[in-house]
């Protein structure tokens, strides 16, 4: 009896010493991530970080995954770039040189991508960089940029959400639009992208750039309002959208808004003073949760994993880029390629598949993601209609 008890205790102790999922013999595939998790631009990295964390945990708890007969588990290494390109560069060097990471998620921010791009290009062929930064678009398909995959829909072009939204705006009778954006890397890129789209649509565009960190928009709003535009097309983060929308509606200068980045929340907050709030949303989670079982399961899993009763509906759409689905997609590509090391083979598999998760994601021939999204139109009082779009 005593011996049996001792044996049972030893067995129990040995079991307890095993990592979750009994993965003691498993090898590790590291996923690096360079996103801003703190600071005013953290909105764009926060959800990606959380989504990757959830997917990694789910895959590991399910026992990992098998590639060419060998079991693997995932490890997430996610330093905080704080939206600082210099810090991101150091972090990327550490990921590639010290941690020997072959798959890096992010960055979402254009200024960060511009900062790491020369070093990343020097390491072409050694890793894959899967990020949403707008500036990545121009680099796709260029020599020595095989490492790039852009994980967000492009604004312009036939499948572009921006093009589609401007067409939608034209149907609403817009003749003049005032663009009020941050004077930073993305703000300038956004002006470059949207100026020709509006011009082609025959809509006059006024542009004002403001200093990042601005909270009082009285001066630019008054200046733009003097031109009597039909719609205000304001900056790309909720940190400024809340203030712009509030101040624009409070003073009666604008009641119609058009957005290609940012959430619905600033509009809903001022819903009584708004006539139209037209926005691109990768997914209108409030509605999708009711209709799509995968979305419902994700929301429930999120609440359980982060031990919270609040799901971040306003931030969740940003999980469309380098996030939860992309971890599963990468694992699937590794399985199909039969390797966890050969990045060229894995990229080829990624480019050839359509993944159906929270989004239906595929890559076009240049390596840019194409996924389904929603055009959301909120009217006075907060009545929201969402039109689901599956790009060609």
């Amino acid at each position: 009896m005593g011996m049996r008890r001792s044996a049972a205790l030893i067995a129990a102790a040995a079991l307890a010493a095993l990592p979750a999922g009994g993965a003691v013999a498993q090898e590790v595939v590291k996923i690096g991530q360079i996103e801003a998790q703190t600071g005013p631009l953290a909105t764009y990295g926060w959800m990606g970080y959380q989504g990757v964390k959830m997917a990694v945990d789910e895959i590991n708890r399910a026992g990992g995954f098998t590639v060419a007969g060998k079991k693997y588990r995932l490890e997430q290494i996610s330093p905080d770039t704080r939206a600082n390109p210099q810090e991101a560069l150091i972090q990327l060097k550490q990921l590639l040189e010290n941690d020997k990471v072959r798959f890096v998620f992010g960055p979402f921010l254009t200024n960060v991508f511009n900062g790491i791009e020369p070093y990343a290009t020097q390491n072409n062929g050694k890793f894959l960089l899967m990020g949403g930064a707008t500036a990545m678009h121009g680099m796709l398909g260029k020599p020595n940029h095989d490492y790039l995959l852009r994980t967000w829909n492009w604004d312009a072009g036939q499948s572009g959400f921006g093009q589609l939204l401007v067409d939608y705006l034209k149907k609403q009778g817009a003749k003049k639009v005032a663009m009020l954006f941050q004077n930073d890397a993305f703000g300038k890129v956004a002006v470059d992208i949207y100026s020709p789209i509006f011009k082609q649509a025959g809509i006059e565009l006024q542009v004002e750039l403001f200093e990042p960190g601005t909270k009082d928009f009285s001066a630019p709003l008054a200046k733009l309002g003097a031109g009597k535009p039909d719609y205000l097309f304001p900056g790309y983060t909720d940190a400024v959208l809340y203030d712009i929308v509030r101040q624009a509606t409070e003073t009666g200068l604008f009641s119609r808004f058009f957005l290609v980045r940012g959430s619905l929340a600033p509009g809903l907050k001022n819903k009584e003073a708004i006539d139209d709030y037209i926005a691109y949303l990768p997914k209108y989670f409030e509605e999708a949760e009711k209709k799509e079982p995968k979305v419902k399961a994700f929301v429930a899993a999120y609440k359980a994993f982060f031990k919270t009763s609040d799901f971040p509906y306003d931030q969740a759409p940003l999980c469309s880029s380098s996030c939860y689905d992309h971890v599963y997609m990468l694992v699937e590509a590794m399985k199909r390629a039969g390797t966890v090391d050969d990045v060229a083979k894995i990229k080829k598999e990624l480019m050839s598949m359509t993944y159906s998760g929270l989004w239906n994601i595929r890559y076009d021939s240049t390596g840019e993601a194409v996924f389904d999204f929603d055009v959301v139109h909120m009217k006075k009082g907060g009545v929201v209609t969402a039109t689901h779009v599956q790009p060609k």
């Binding site: 403001f210 960190g213 009285s218 001066a219 909720d238 940190a239 203030d243 409070e250 971040p312």
Partner: protein, 286 residues
């Protein structure tokens, strides 16, 4: 165009009083403790979040929330003084290092507690005033009036109370003030706590106008230091005027010049003033 300029003059003055209330704290702290307390920006942020939390989460009436926020921030200021700043009195570099460390710690804590998702208080006093073709939100004008009263009361307290006169005496000649019975440690702690309370007060009012994020104080403290230098360190009315000059310069400058360099207009004005009056507009002769 005249309306646009008039509107920005008024708006600049309103925004400037917010710079002014923090500038007042910067000026007082430096005058009495020899520390440039850059952490006043995070105390402002704490005041803003506290007011938002008390109002929107605990549903306290706004005036009560402001009072609660000021009390909380004053308590935080006292703790920071007793644990940190007390050991850096009259040591500019150490004081600066401590305040920078405090900024990182408190911003990080706020981020953990409230995330980077902006928080916006419900509209306390909705509606606008129309006058001379100008449209000004009622809450903005109310905040302006309250801040003016707060700064005026501070001026009164400093000139009409024993403690206030002791502070002036200490700033002019520390040794003589001590010999006359001024309790140095208590005075310095009092000024630190009062400055952080002012920052918390500014933050609580700020929360009724703008959205909140953990880094909100960094810009305001920089403007406040600019305003304090522009006015001349030690001048109470000067802190207010310095803030208003900065606010108006930025607002009116944005009409004629590119908006993207708005912050530079105030700095250019500051440099121009310091070239001709190195001690600031209201500062004594050096």
């Amino acid at each position: 165009m005249a309306q646009l300029i008039l509107g920005q003059l008024l708006n600049g003055a309103i925004v400037g009083t917010l710079y002014g209330i923090i500038a007042l704290g910067v000026s007082l702290t430096f005058g009495i403790t020899g520390i440039v307390n850059f952490a006043l920006g995070v105390f402002m942020m704490l005041g803003a979040y506290a007011a938002w939390y008390l109002t929107d989460t605990l549903h306290a009436p706004y005036p009560l929330a402001v009072a609660g926020a000021v009390a909380l921030v004053a308590a935080a200021g006292w703790i920071a003084d007793q644990l940190l700043f007390r050991f850096t009195r009259n040591d500019l570099v150490n004081g600066l290092l401590v305040s920078i460390g405090l900024i990182a710690a408190l911003e990080g804590t706020a981020l953990l507690a409230w995330t980077s998702t902006p928080k916006e208080m419900h509209h306390i006093l909705p509606g606008v005033f129309f006058a001379l073709g100008l449209v000004v939100p009622k809450m903005k004008l109310t905040v302006f009036a309250i801040l003016l009263v707060a700064i005026a009361l501070t001026q009164l307290a400093l000139t009409r109370t024993w403690m206030g006169r002791a502070a002036y005496a200490y700033a002019q000649n520390a040794e003589a003030a001590q010999l006359m019975g001024v309790h140095t440690g208590r005075l310095q702690t009092g000024v630190m706590v009062y400055s952080t309370a002012l920052a918390g007060f500014g933050g609580a009012l700020y929360a009724s106008l703008y959205s909140l994020e953990p880094t909100l104080g960094s810009l305001y403290v920089l403007k406040a230091v600019e305003a304090a230098i522009l006015a001349g360190i030690g001048s109470i009315a000067g802190a207010l005027v310095g803030g208003i000059i900065l606010g108006v310069t930025e607002g009116v400058g944005s009409i004629y010049l590119p908006l993207a360099f708005r912050d530079a207009y105030g700095l250019i004005f500051l440099v121009a003033v310091l070239l001709f009056k190195p001690s600031g507009l209201f500062g004594g002769r050096r």
